[in-house]
Subunit: 154 residues, 2 copies
């Protein structure tokens, strides 16, 4: 319980920033938004709306899945979260906004974060920069994870 409380502090520290972001975007600070954001920021597993819904319900038992869904989309819009690149499955969200990369297992759909310094500053080709505004750039790997490899090795 003690360690949980410590963890809690670490992500609750993000809350003032988040509140500021909301206000800047003209959004109201509601318990639902707080709770969704808090659980997303805490999560390490790129949860789907439904996964988060289950977690948030422990804090706000009456919240609806729709609200979680809407809130997540809102968070993505104001840049407090981002939608992870998948391949047309259910939407997955990411509250970690620091630079990192994703590996996605095509079998179990697990998304694994990794960080590799050289990828921090991927140069955007001039041809792209001339025509488009690049908001997010990432290196994305797809393949088979260790667990699935074992499963299929039989």
């Amino acid at each position: 319980m003690k360690s949980q409380k410590k963890k809690l502090r670490s992500y609750t520290e993000k809350m003032p920033d988040f509140k500021a972001k909301c206000r800047a975007a003209g959004l109201r600070i509601t318990p639902q938004r707080m709770a969704v954001y808090q659980e997303l920021a805490k999560s390490k597993e790129h949860p789907s709306a439904d996964m988060l819904y289950r977690k948030v319900r422990k804090i706000l038992p009456n919240i609806s899945l729709d609200t979680v869904n809407r809130t997540l989309l809102t968070l993505a819009e104001i840049g407090a979260a981002c939608i992870v690149e998948g391949s047309g499955d259910v939407k997955r969200f990411d509250g970690q906004l620091n630079n990192h990369q994703h590996f996605r297992c095509i079998k179990c759909k697990r998304i694994i974060d990794f960080y590799h310094k050289p990828f921090d500053n991927i140069p955007v080709p001039k041809s792209i920069n001339k025509k488009f505004v690049v908001l997010r750039k990432t290196v994305y790997f797809e393949g088979i994870c260790n667990l699935c490899a074992e499963k299929y090795a039989s």
Copy 2:
């Protein structure tokens, strides 16, 4: 009409390879598969199942959307196509198997190909290579395309 015929030849040249791939995977060569593959290989726009369905129907008016769907998944499995990384929208497919990168507009969902030599050989970090089998590696940009930027400039 003449130029169309020429274009047609260029992608029909891929057909023998494709047939070989099918046979290698133990798949039958059916008109539907041929047609779906042909239209996908011809397409430059990362079509969804539905987009392809409309095109293929011009060749095989009786094909069903389900078949297009199933065929596309099959193609992805045998490595004759791939599912483009999106962000939880409808599945989008890509028949261009040569190395290239994607820029995706978060507004209009358009996916734009680009090619940048330095991205040809992205090094896979050892930490990843140790645990996972990487099948596809790509640099993925997200942002606002020129058309949408104009729209929102008003």
